[in-house]
């Protein structure tokens, strides 16, 4: 059954996506690589083959500080979101009736239909010194706490962004966990927590890791939370990109930062997926 000549059917199905992504995704990225070697004089870009942009960015401590900070924030967001999400996903997947489950999934999809910007804008009012949370805490006689324009604020925004997606992805992976396995574990008098960690988590690993990976990716590239909840203080890589383009039309240098970010994300994604699909048992 070897295919001798290209047939129409597979081509019609597979080519459009390939062509679209080649033309409108790969080309722009390749172009970005090219731009990173261009030079800027008097606010004007000229095609060139100049390594100065790379040198300038990669030799500056400010870049590496921002790089480390962004990576840490994204990691913290991924871990935090996963930890908050897991008990909820677990309970939704295992403890609730199908009807309630369906409704909750529906409820969790809703945030995707609301503007992230609007939510962040509202969060400002919650987190500010005289904001809603501090007002509520004040009634209890505690606070006020500084939350807006801090790393904490940034993290709250990132968790807001990622939590619904992570819970949903976790639910889907938990739904695929074989119920018989759990039954078996219980029959063997395996305790509740041990069942979760020895049976459920390993068999849902792929989904859990991918959920965390998505949280990392979203947080790593997000510029809204660091800017509007973190006060841009100190800046992350995405803020740095907009900063660089904001002064003197340094698009080539912005391209360098962008490419470094893409490289990092690809590495992390590759590592995470390798880990997720690694043969179990060893």
């Amino acid at each position: 059954m070897t295919i001798r000549r290209p047939r129409l059917f597979p081509l019609v199905l597979s080519l459009p996506l390939l062509l679209w992504q080649l033309a409108f995704f790969l080309f722009p990225l390749v172009f970005l690589v090219a731009i990173s070697f261009w030079t800027v004089r008097n606010f004007q870009m000229t095609p060139d083959l100049d390594f100065g942009n790379w040198e300038r960015i990669l030799t500056r401590n400010t870049f590496w500080d921002a790089y480390a900070r962004t990576a840490m924030l994204a990691t913290a967001s991924a871990v935090l979101t996963s930890l908050i999400a897991f008990p909820a996903a677990y309970a939704i997947s295992f403890k609730l009736s199908d009807r309630v489950k369906q409704w909750l999934i529906f409820v969790l999809i809703i945030p995707f239909f609301t503007s992230y910007l609007v939510r962040i804008y509202a969060l400002q009012v919650f987190l500010s010194d005289a904001g809603i949370i501090n007002a509520l805490l004040g009634m209890l006689g505690i606070g006020p706490f500084l939350m807006l324009n801090t790393t904490f604020g940034t993290l709250v925004g990132m968790v807001t962004l990622c939590l619904p997606l992570v819970i949903l992805l976790q639910i889907f992976s938990l739904n695929f966990v074989n119920r018989d396995l759990i039954e078996a574990a219980h029959n063997l008098r395996c305790g509740r927590l041990r069942t979760v960690f020895l049976v459920i988590v390993p068999s849902a690993r792929v989904g859990l890791v991918i959920a965390a990976l998505f949280a990392f990716i979203l947080s790593f590239g997000d510029f809204v939370s660091p800017l509007y909840l973190g006060g841009g203080n100190p800046p992350t890589l995405s803020i740095m990109i907009t900063d660089i383009t904001k002064s003197g039309q340094q698009w080539p240098r912005a391209a360098v930062v962008a490419l470094m970010m893409i490289g990092t994300l690809l590495t992390v994604a590759f590592a995470a997926i390798t880990f997720a699909y690694k043969e179990r048992g060893k």
């Binding site: 459009p16 996506l17 080649l22 309970a91 809703i110 995707f112 609301t114 009012v125 995405s238």
Partner: protein
């Protein structure tokens, strides 16, 4: 599992779910409240009840054109991305070929690229080929960003399909096209619908790339970003609340439709 239930833990878990839902929805609810509040810069205690912000956006022709652009882009993108995604998902499901990994990488990578970078690259590229600054450029960019979601959703559904099903159809003499029409598409229909909705939703909310490439043809989210960066205005909340209500209506309609069709079958 029955013997192992623990009442306290179950209650705690349910409380946790509630806490998560509250956390997720507090900002949405907050923005709704602020949209009906007279203060330009909302803070506690709240000002008076006011529909002023709704009146302002209702009378703002730019909000309307933005809304139109958003809807047009959303619909076109949903269709394009779902078609592309379906093809990609089926290709991955059905075929093995040299370079498949590269094909998949190209198909699935866009969401991993931070939007700021995507916008930058898109604008730089599209303006060279004279495609920037129009609604088409937003559609192109969103097509790139949304098709992976469509592909993932449909691929997930395909993986639940019994592989023998397709083979059986072929054995019964159906050619590939007929099988696609009578077996694959009906089976993946819920996923296709879901893909249409999700891609539309992603496009509706996308502001960063659209900001870069839309030029004068701004979509509504780009307008919101403008309000946020420029004149901070509760119109943000009013637009957000309206968008929210209309999307929810759409989802509920979709749910009802899906439920009806599944009832019909069974």
């Amino acid at each position: 599992m029955t013997g192992n239930r623990n009442f306290i833990i179950d209650v705690l878990l349910k409380l946790h779910i509630a806490a998560c839902v509250i956390f997720i929805f507090a900002p949405i609810l907050g923005s709704f409240v602020f949209s009906l509040n007279s203060d330009r810069f909302p803070s506690l205690p709240l000002g008076q009840f006011s529909t002023e912000w709704y009146r302002l956006i209702w009378e703002d022709p730019f909000v309307w054109t933005g809304f139109y652009n958003t809807v047009i882009v959303g619909f076109v993108v949903a269709v394009i991305a779902t078609l592309l995604g379906f093809g990609g998902a089926y290709t991955d499901f059905r075929y093995n070929f040299f370079g498949k990994n590269i094909y998949l990488a190209l198909a699935l990578l866009p969401p991993t690229i931070p939007v700021v970078i995507m916008g930058l690259a898109m604008l730089a590229f599209l303006s060279r080929v004279n495609l920037s600054g129009s609604t088409i450029s937003v559609i192109i960019a969103h097509g790139v960003m949304c098709s992976p979601f469509a592909m993932a959703i449909i691929r997930l559904r395909l993986s639940q399909m019994d592989p023998d099903l397709e083979a059986a159809a072929w054995n019964l003499g159906g050619n590939e096209w007929a099988t696609l029409r009578h077996v694959i598409i009906p089976f993946t229909k819920p996923a296709i619908l879901a893909a249409l909705f999700i891609t539309m939703a992603v496009s509706f909310d996308e502001f960063a790339v659209a900001w870069f490439v839309s030029g004068l043809n701004e979509t509504l989210p780009v307008k919101i970003l403008g309000f946020l960066q420029g004149q901070v205005s509760p119109r943000i909340n009013a637009i957000g609340s309206l968008a929210f209500v209309s999307s929810i209506t759409l989802i509920i309609l979709a749910q009802i439709l899906l439920r009806n069709s599944s009832k019909e079958k069974s």
